[in-house]
Symmetry: C2
Subunit: 615 residues, 2 copies
Amino acid sequence: MNTRELVELAQQLRVDSVRASAAAGSGHPTSSMSAADLMAVLLAHHLRYDFDRPDHPGNDRFVLSKGHASPLLYSAYKAAGAIDDGELLTFRQLGSRLEGHPTPRRLPWVETATGSLGQGLPVGVGIALAGRRLDRTDYRVWVLCGDSELAEGSVWEAAEHAAYEHLDNLVAIVDVNRLGQRGPTRHGHDLDAYARRFQAFGWHTVEIDGHDVDAIDRAYGEAVSTKGQPTAVLARTLKGKGVEAVEDREGLHGKPLPDAEEAVAELGGPRSLSVHVQEPPAARLLHAVREEQVRLPRFEQGEEVATRDAYGKALAALGAGRGDVVALDGEVSDSTRAEAFAKEYPERFFECYIAEQQMVAAAVGVASRGWVPYASSFAAFLTRAYDFVRMASVSGAGINLVGSHAGVAIGPDGPSQMGLEDLAMFRAVHGSTVLYPCDANQTARLVAAMADLDGIRYLRTSRGKNQVIYGPDEEFEVGGSKVLRSSATDRLTLVAAGVTVPEALAAADALDREGIQVRVIDLYSVKPVDRLTLRQAAEDTGCLVTVEDHHPEGGLGDAVLDAFLDGRPMPRLVRLAVRTMPGSAAPDQQLHAAGIDAESITAAVQLLVEQAVVR
Amino acid sequence: MNTRELVELAQQLRVDSVRASAAAGSGHPTSSMSAADLMAVLLAHHLRYDFDRPDHPGNDRFVLSKGHASPLLYSAYKAAGAIDDGELLTFRQLGSRLEGHPTPRRLPWVETATGSLGQGLPVGVGIALAGRRLDRTDYRVWVLCGDSELAEGSVWEAAEHAAYEHLDNLVAIVDVNRLGQRGPTRHGHDLDAYARRFQAFGWHTVEIDGHDVDAIDRAYGEAVSTKGQPTAVLARTLKGKGVEAVEDREGLHGKPLPDAEEAVAELGGPRSLSVHVQEPPAARLLHAVREEQVRLPRFEQGEEVATRDAYGKALAALGAGRGDVVALDGEVSDSTRAEAFAKEYPERFFECYIAEQQMVAAAVGVASRGWVPYASSFAAFLTRAYDFVRMASVSGAGINLVGSHAGVAIGPDGPSQMGLEDLAMFRAVHGSTVLYPCDANQTARLVAAMADLDGIRYLRTSRGKNQVIYGPDEEFEVGGSKVLRSSATDRLTLVAAGVTVPEALAAADALDREGIQVRVIDLYSVKPVDRLTLRQAAEDTGCLVTVEDHHPEGGLGDAVLDAFLDGRPMPRLVRLAVRTMPGSAAPDQQLHAAGIDAESITAAVQLLVEQAVVR
């Protein structure tokens, strides 16, 4: 396209953004209009993409980090022939694929859900990493960012990661339109302020007038030809560009234009340009190759092994058996034991340093390219990435997250290092799976099983060693449980998981010596829970006592409820959990202080028996 | 102190760090040894602090951002005479104040809990902001950071915030010891790499040899005399400095020295230097002044008002009545309605731009100085700051967090903007309070009530308008509830909160017309819950149906369980919640699709009656 045609295309994108938002009665047309020229030039001259084959391995990848500018994205889809005008006007309606913020759940051309700002670039870095180090294909990753979102620290985690990995296949296009939602940004139109920051982190930068299509064209060309470092194209633009009533004005964020018809006329009226997007170059998928069988590590019953050690070994075994498994870690791989994988498969291991948001984003990025990521840190520090986990579930991304050092059982390091909210956090994520193994063989099986599930999968591991309870051939279904003690005279059921399983077993044995029989269930699958087994236990024993190394809210105690929420008769419930703010102490002292060790469980059950609460 | 004495003091800090860790059998002596000279010079020459009066308003504030170097901190306390050698050797033991990572819950000289990296500087920015804009006192804030933690984006949110606010009362001292937990950092000893970044964000930087006490002394002096911008002192150090067996070596993070006795000898043996820390200058507390009475806004019953609007008005009213209330927002004050406060009290309003971690950290910082912060963003985006919320609770910080635009009720913007995990997230925080009002008068009362609670207080507000249900004189106890429909023939109880309250009322009325009476409870206090009222409803009606605009896990449905966890007979339970991943649609369509509108509730109750699940 020549200059005039590019200008026309950009105007069409503006017109269609205005029209879509007007039809919806909501949306962000002004945020779309500022970036219309940036999008037009990308679409017409630089993006290589087959809209009929979104899974084409050679396709460039485009991420709309400023996800609220979805009218612009959908207008671009229309110009490229991927959707028609009728569909464009379904924007934001019930059942439409064209949501307020784009998601790959509904649209095959969207790489990752955006709408929580500061996430598109971090995920883009993950995709670019996959391109360079896994797919080894020359696709480029283009990320259109807003200027407001550069205030998010996650953007600078991404900037650091991208430059360190020399991702010259990554281009950040920053639409510096000066205005955030509520008013001016910190730096207004000071492109240099952004350039200094990106340069300091090791990026190449280009500063341009974002409404000069020739300048944009040259900037993209410069980005593509820059080697050894990512490029940020910093574009000075005007929000609402092209319509005087809204151009560069405050107070108009996230609103349809006051008079859409007049605006369309001012923009030169509707157009029906279609743009031929370049075909991607031929490319092939690398990771289709899989070996025959995964040979999981086997542990002897009675052996003392930490579940985090079992995780590392199982992950390495998975790496041997499956070429599509990759691992990421947040600078604690010696603790999470991801190092076992890193040593064997360095080419599939990504050190993310202490930047948990970027780690999860990178996992989402590589998962979008078909890889199966396992990302690990301390359970406590995964809270840092909760918004990324939430958005990954909006994306429908399939990622495995592993939190080690869970609970008070870590001992003297104190509460800052203890994951005591992680089960609640991951259970509340839509479609998630939450697993909490108690021994090494169980861990190994679950690590393998989680690889092929949908959505967010979370595995909680423990710091300390404990006895292997199960044999190496025991199988563990996701959504299952194990009944470890059971008799016809059980007076209640102890429901435990992870570190509280051995405590519950010891309590059951102590109680048995006093003539009190109790059932013990290992509820390793915290979500989904084994409804049938819990219901049977409720029916047989009438009372469930949950024991968990987690705060009382949202964890194991709440999870058992999932078996009883259809109005059926309920068992009595008692919850043992961490109700105080722990300090430093040895692991056994911590479990005792929290009232979740064998002695505390025994005492609690004795009290229930004395009070005749149980049968 | 002269150079020789400073060197001796630093050696003493090393010796005591080694001894404390040896006594504990765990800890981070090598991370302490790298920063010993930095700490010695600060303590002896620059810090102004009265250890007998940690609440002295003129005290400088010291934050150990690299919280794992707690042996160094405690050794400094000993040198300053604040603790004795006996206490130093209780490090990490059960009941000791000297935890693995320092917390203000136990030690009066600690400003904020650290141990999750990248949080000390953000909180330090909050304290420095309080000093400049609220306390208007000349205390300085010194933050000792590690180099590894500079990979956290939150550090760059803090850097941006501090420079933008020209916080020349803030000094970041970066202990660049080259080694993280698992190995070398990205930038090793390249001080320039860090200097470029800090400078790009607007900081003054000084690069020094971190083991040259005179250079350190000059650098601190330069920091103190630098006006208009914060200073980062970038110090090249060696991890484990002074003991050959561990100096600058990998694989020794977080471990006591292999031979402590030999190490102490190599360091020149124990010393018993005491250091006289400078007195703080005279200063006075500003915010002790309070006006007589808070005049909350009053809304008419039947009026249509969004709870977020009521929040803004109530906050402004609180601002008028209380000089200690401050507000922070993440660049969405026009949406959260914090703008109502910002317009009236700009000197007590902090615009944090799109940086939710920094917003919460700043709130923790100003709270540590005795102010009462209200920090707001969309409920969805508060997930971004979960690790900061978690650590705030470890600190025992008293902060108010307000999440607007909760749930599917926001309508067409789609799932990225919907808080659907926030109740779970905040409930799981130790000692938290979680409030979810359904109308404007209730909101206003709760906004005022939460100001004086302990710990993390969360208020959930809604985007859309709804009818005011309660009169302006109605009172709402935290931990209470309101029974809105009740009769002797209630067949079950609907438990609702926020947007589902009007839906539950409409359902109750529709059911009543069919001859089915149901009780309706407005459970606005989600944590703590009103146990007595829920138990009475269970006894009277036998079945609780919870209705919530939140994912099923960890929210209202789990909250009611808190009334029944002592083994008492349980009511039957049914949960209506958001079980799907929503798309875009109008608010009423969203509530219907999720099965939580009046029609869905009515249908669910009818089914329970037909199936004879209820009486």
